[in-house]
Structure formats: structure tokens, C-alpha cells
Amino acid sequence: MLRVENVSTGYDNIRVLHQISLTVGEGEIVTLIGSNGVGKTTTLKTISGLLKPTEGKIYFNNRDISQLPPHEIVELGISHVPEGRNVFPRLTVKENLEMGAYTRKDKVEIKKDYARIMELFPQLAQRQKQVAGTLSGGEQQMLAIGRALMSRPRLLLLDEPSMGLAPLVVTSIFEIIKDINRQGTPILLVEQNAQIALRTAHRGYVMETGRIVMSDSARALLQNDRVRKTYLGE
């Protein structure tokens, strides 16, 4: 459903992505792994329209979205959870979630989705009136994911959901990511924590200095010697 074809992106004159190609199919979790600064976040930003590709095309359900502004891409159903969580710090949990449904007008359905997210994240349900800036890191990550779900995405882009979180919290976040996927939302997951990312995903791509150097099923990548040495520290 998402097809990225030979996309290059840069900031000013510096090229960051060199002809990236990748796909995400229905019902899949696809992960993009790689070390710091190889262009993983840039890839997600290019898909969600925050950056414009300098060449190449991005198709979503066979529609060319490579030159659309971000708000139109959200309306088409791609929801981006930015790195570093980016919750609205001075709004409450409830208000943050309501912001997520900004592009929607179906009030009854929004209420249902709100209830569903409260079920998915019981920790947030206890803190609906709390200001988001005072939540713990894990709770903020949950809130950011929940907020993205409020737009009823047809594709979820997750940027480093494990960043800065305690290992136990990371495990529970990834359990929830699997749950979301089981309920039918395809996910493109960017992670530095290759171990947990490959265990969660169906397929994976490995990025090095702005290029995709490997792609395979997640299981195969976990067994791959080079991946094991470079990213899994074995």
C-alpha cells in the first residue's frame, strides 16, 4: 500500500537520502534499522510530507503523494509519530488525544476510538485530565501513539518509540505496537534498537549512510551475520 521509489531527499545542498526504495504492505509491520544519522528519520519525514523529495516518487494506495503538503497526507491516512514524542506539553492527555482527531468530523466514531485508546493504554485512562508535560517518558510515548491512532490511520509511521525509555517500558510499548497491528493497522517502524524491532516486525530494511543496503524478512535479518555483528552486538 505504501511504495517508495528511488527517493532522494536533502537539507539545503546536502543529500541525506540516496535513492531509497521500500514498500509496506497490508497488515505488515516493516522496520527500518540502522545507526545514528543514516537517514531513518529523514525517510519518515519525507513520507509524511514534512520534507519534500528532490527525486523519486512515493505512492500511497497507488496515489502519488510525493509533493503533497503534510496535512493532506494525514487526511489520506498516514499518521506520523515524530521522534522525541512531541506531545503538546501544556494540554491535558484528553486534549492531546482530541487534537489527534483534528482532521475528522465524525463525532460518534471519534468517541468510540477514544474509548478504544483508553482500553489500549490503561495508564493513560487514569490520567486523562493531567497535563501531558508532566507524564513520564513512557506515558508520553503512549500518548503520542494514541494521538496518532485518533486520526484512524491506514498507515502508522513510528519514529524511535524506544528512545529514552526503560527496558521494561520498551517491552510493553512494543507489545502495544503488535496489538495495534493485529487490529489491522500497517506500521512502518524506525528503530535503533534493532533487536526488539526485528522481533516485532515482519520484514526489515537496513540503512547505512542514506542508502538501503539490505532487505529481508525480519527473521532472516536476525540470523544474518552482518546484522548480528553490526546491530545486535553479537
Partner: protein, 301 residues
């Protein structure tokens, strides 16, 4: 009935309230630090005055003409400065304010340094009261609507707002346009009350004064803008008897105020589009404190 002195004071309070309300939309709700608000006021003032003088249009038409003229420039300034944030936006709007002032000072049609004279007195208490009510009503409706939520989201975190599907470019231009429109309306009322316009009335200090009204009353609080405008219009008048000390006391009041209650007299409104917290002002407060601490820290080293 009311003595002319008090009448004038009430009318000025009204005009300043319109200025503070419209600036509050830009700074308090959308979080865009603009310090050239007096420029929009002067655009509205000159335009409406010239419409009255040269075309003898009905008052309401001149007023709306001035307001639309200011809104046009609000949108115009909004477009190139959209990518600027915080201090940089402040500098750009300051520059815009100076450009407008200097252009008014040098054009023939605005009367140049002599000023624009002979504007008929059309502003009455009724007009001002109506204008304040309409401004407050419309801005309140905007803030409590979807648009208001988008503006607050932009204030909170622009990247996240974009990711929510909010077209932040559009809303920022809209916010500048609407803010400038009402500033132009205030300017038109001012012109037809004072009957005389001079670029000096709309200098940088005027913009700062309007900023003070918004901050004093409370950022993101409609009633706050009214309170701030009232205090900062009435207090300088009361201090007129101690003319020499006037600015000194005025300054001391402001410093004391920022020290004791930096979130403004009323703080953030509990009714701003359902966002029931006062944390925006708290955030500003911590940022101010931090920067002060940083400065005093670097002094020691």
C-alpha cells in the same frame, strides 16, 4: 452626563481593548511573538482617514476599508515571516513596524512629518462600545472553534501540529490576517476620534505598550486583554499629576507585576476552547526564570 475627560478615557480604553484583544490572538493563542502591532493600527488609521477625507464615504465603510487594508498587510507580512520563530519573528515584525512608520512619515498623502489633519470626528462612545463587543464576540468564536484549537496546537508544538494534519502555514497567515484586521479597526476608530494622525503615535513604543497590555492582563485570556488595556490606559492618566515621576512609577509597576505575577493578572483563561490549564503562562515563567539564571550565571564566570 459624562464629563468629556472621562468620555475620552473610556473611548481610549475601548480602542486599546480592541488592540490588546487582536494582539492576544497572535501572541497569546497562536504563540507568535509579534511586536509591530501598532503598524497595523496605523495602516487602518491612515487608510480609513483618507477614505473619509477624499471620498467622503460613510463611517462604517471607511472603518471596514481601513481594517481590510490592515488585514491585507497582515497577510502580506505573514507569508514571508512564516518560517521565523520566537525572537526572529519579533525582529521581523519590529522591522515591519518601523518601515510602516517611516513610509507614513515620508509619503505626501499621509501628510508626512506634519501629520494628517482635519479628519472629521465620527467616533462616538456607541461606535467604540459596539466595536469592542463585535471584536470580542468574533475573536471568542474563533478561539472556541476548530480554528482556535489549531492555533493553540501550533503554539504548543508546530511540528506535532503539522503531524496532526493541521495546515500550520494557513492558520498562521489567518491569525495574522484576523489580528491585523481588528488592529486596523481600532486604528480607524482612533483616527476619527483624535482627528489628527502622526506617525509618532504608532511607533515602536506603542507596539510595546500593546504587548504590555496583553502580558499584564494574561496571555491567552480575553478578559485579561480588557483588564490590561484598562489598567495601562487609566494608570498613566492618574499619574499625570506627578508628571515627572510618571514614567518611573509606570515602569516600577510593570517590573513589580512581572516579579509577583508573571502569568498576568488573570492568567490563562479557563474557557479558551476547553483547554483548562494555566500552564502556558507557567511555561513562559520558567523560561524567563531560566534565561535570567543563565544570564546571572554567565556573569559570574
Amino acid at each position: 452626563m459624562i464629563s468629556p475627560y472621562y468620555l475620552q478615557l473610556i473611548i481610549l480604553v475601548g480602542i486599546n481593548t480592541i488592540m490588546a484583544l487582536s494582539l492576544n490572538l497572535i501572541i497569546g493563542y497562536t504563540g507568535q511573538l509579534s511586536i509591530g502591532h501598532a503598524a497595523f493600527m496605523s495602516l487602518g488609521a491612515y487608510c480609513s482617514a483618507l477614505l473619509t477625507l477624499h471620498f467622503n464615504l460613510p463611517f462604517i465603510v471607511s472603518l471596514l476599508g481601513g481594517a481590510l487594508f490592515a488585514a491585507f498587510f497582515g497577510i502580506l507580512i505573514g507569508i514571508p515571516t512564516l518560517k521565523l520563530k520566537g525572537d526572529y519573528l519579533a525582529i521581523a515584525t519590529l522591522g515591519f513596524g518601523e518601515i510602516v512608520r517611516i513610509v507614513c512619515l515620508n509619503l505626501e498623502i499621509t501628510g508626512g512629518a506634519v501629520g494628517l489633519r482635519g479628519i472629521p470626528k465620527k467616533t462616538t462612545l456607541l461606535w467604540v462600545v459596539l466595536a469592542v463587543l463585535i471584536t470580542a464576540f468574533i475573536l471568542n468564536r474563533i478561539i472556541k472553534s476548530r480554528i482556535g484549537r489549531a492555533l493553540i496546537a501550533i503554539r504548543e508544538d508546530e511540528t506535532a501540529a503539522d503531524a496532526m494534519g493541521i495546515n500550520s502555514t494557513y492558520y498562521k497567515i489567518l491569525c495574522f490576517g484576523v489580528g491585523a484586521f481588528f488592529a486596523g479597526l481600532g486604528g480607524g476608530l482612533f483616527a476619527h476620534y483624535m482627528r489628527f494622525l502622526h506617525p509618532k503615535s504608532f511607533d515602536f513604543m506603542k507596539s510595546i505598550e500593546q504587548l504590555c497590555m496583553v502580558v499584564l492582563g494574561g496571555l491567552g485570556n480575553m478578559w485579561g486583554s480588557f483588564v490590561g488595556a484598562t489598567i495601562l490606559t487609566v494608570v498613566p492618566e492618574m499619574l499625570r499629576s506627578v508628571a515627572d515621576l510618571r514614567l518611573l512609577i509606570y515602569g516600577a509597576v510593570l517590573i513589580l507585576m512581572m516579579r509577583v505575577r508573571p502569568q498576568g493578572i488573570l492568567g490563562e483563561s479557563p474557557a479558551n476552547g476547553g483547554f483548562k490549564n494555566n500552564s502556558y503562562s507557567q511555561w513562559i515563567q520558567t523560561r524567563l526564570k531560566k534565561s535570567l539564571r543563565k544570564r546571572s550565571g554567565s556573569d559570574k564566570t
